[in-house]
């Protein structure tokens, strides 16, 4: 396989960012690793061609296709849909003002659980737009759809997330501890 060093350089540069995307696409560390490694193996097979274009976008596209394919086959998916009620209760019980380190863990659980309830394309739009910070056009390219579809999917996904995690995502009610809010933040 030509260009092994180029491929290794690419993985060293983008591996961490792609890992984060893979995790939020699947919500599961094992699945995320499988997803990313599958995408990287396919990329390695086509590296000579892929390297001439945008390898990072290529890997993201393979991950989204693969994730959707898994979702369609279901049998591969180990993640369990989370009932909306327990999720809501979890969010409601979270103390917004608490600096408890467990708060961050709870927030992470709520976010990943809410993402798990989105259909794959809505989930992909959320990850590409708001984690990877891709533009609508770049998201459309990564997903192989139109910008209009991206807008529609994002709108639906945000509405769903707003329902699933209202205390985290409702306008004006969200609170994230900033450094100055924490005991070690140097606040006066």
């Amino acid at each position: 396989m030509d260009g092994d060093e180029g491929f290794r350089d690419f993985v060293a540069t983008y591996g961490a960012a792609l890992s984060r995307s893979a995790f939020l696409l699947t919500g599961d560390h094992q699945l995320a690793e499988d997803l990313l490694q599958t995408a990287l193996a396919r990329t390695a097979m086509h590296w000579r061609r892929v390297a001439a274009g945008n390898p990072e976008a290529y890997v993201r596209r393979v991950m989204i296709n693969q994730r959707t394919s898994w979702w369609r086959r279901r049998r591969y998916l180990r993640e369990t849909p989370v009932d909306a009620e327990p999720l809501g209760a979890l969010a409601a019980n979270r103390s917004a003002a608490s600096p408890d380190p467990a708060d961050a863990v709870v927030r992470q659980l709520i976010v990943t659980a809410a993402l798990a309830q989105l259909p794959p394309r809505q989930r992909a739009v959320i990850v590409l737009r708001f984690l990877d910070d891709l533009s609508e056009a770049a998201t459309a390219r990564a997903m192989g759809c139109s910008v209009g579809t991206v807008k529609a999917q994002a709108h639906a996904a945000l509405a769903r997330l707003r329902t699933l995690a209202p205390t985290l995502l409702a306008d004006g009610r969200e609170h994230r501890p900033r450094p100055a809010d924490s005991p070690a933040g140097g606040g006066t």
């Binding site: 396989m1 060293a12 490694q37 390695a44 927030r107 959320i126």
Partner: protein, 385 residues
Amino acid sequence: MTEQLRALLHDAAAAVPDYADADRALRAGRRALRRRAVSTAIAAAVVVVIAVGAASALRSDPRGGTDEAGPVAPGGEPVYPAVLAPPERAAVLPASRVGSAALVYAPCARDCDPFLVLDSGRQYRLPRLGSGTPTAGYTLSPDGRWLGWPTESGLRIRDLDGRGTRDIADDGPGRTSAWAWSADSRWILAVRHTDGLAHHATAIDVTTGARHRADVSGYPVGVRIDGRLVAWVGDLASAAEPAAALDTVDLSTGASERTALDLGPALRTGEIATGEELQPVPGGSLAMLPVQAATPTDILGPASAVLVVDLDTGRVVRRVDLPPSDRSQNTQHWEPRSYEAGGITLVHWTLERTEIVQLDPDTGATVVHSTLPRDSQVLLRGTRR
């Protein structure tokens, strides 16, 4: 809300470990290539047995012969053998005149040699140009006369009906590769690209060696019979957002003319068109634009139709629906490759075989021209892949 969500997502992903393992991916990639090669070899062996039988039956058919027929002069329609399989012993392509070619194919997806198939039926083994698809890198002119391939320093175009060659040297970083032919086979468009955005284009008149170079914006997709470059402007076009345009660029002067494409009425809901697969239609003023179907669960759908676009007016002259591909199980699918005088040439992939099929755009009738082993890779005249 979006800023809050962005922050929450970054928080949630902050502690995610780096799963990426390049060496494991390289090993997995190699294993996959080997597995594919073995399964293809078995399938190819089966097809060879079938081919031997078919060849016996076709002995009186001139397309079945491989050695007796003399060189065929370029200019006619490609002649596809009814059954295509690698000959037991295939010579390498000689430097002498061999006549026009119908196609380049490889009997597998990876790890096998490609073959040049002449209109006389004779096959020559070609060297593989890399570790990717065996036919990748080659290009064949629409009249079957010129065969091109990348070299260490650029691109070489060889006259199969003579002994002449044309060389296009790399004139900077990045690789120069063949991107398109004019409908009359006079011009080839070669592009050197370095970062996927900058395109350094060269149009060469293969009959005289005259060439024009320029850096172009947009995505080069074709070359007109007068040597002007055609570039796709914009991104994906869909029924909801049908805006697209073509720039026609005179590489000798840099003069550019933009033609808006009116694709909206011809695209159906969920269909997407990009200019990457634009193919010239004989005559040169029209081009074939494949359309892909996308569904909420089918991110990259198969081709559902082709549009025939007037390059001067941007008007869609006609829409031709393709036979349906199997989107749920992916047991078979169709790819439009070229528009020839006799109709639209498609490659049909099934679990058992690969076929070269011609579709009559008026009646929708299909005729199988050639049957190849499963997973065969096919490069037809004048096409980019």
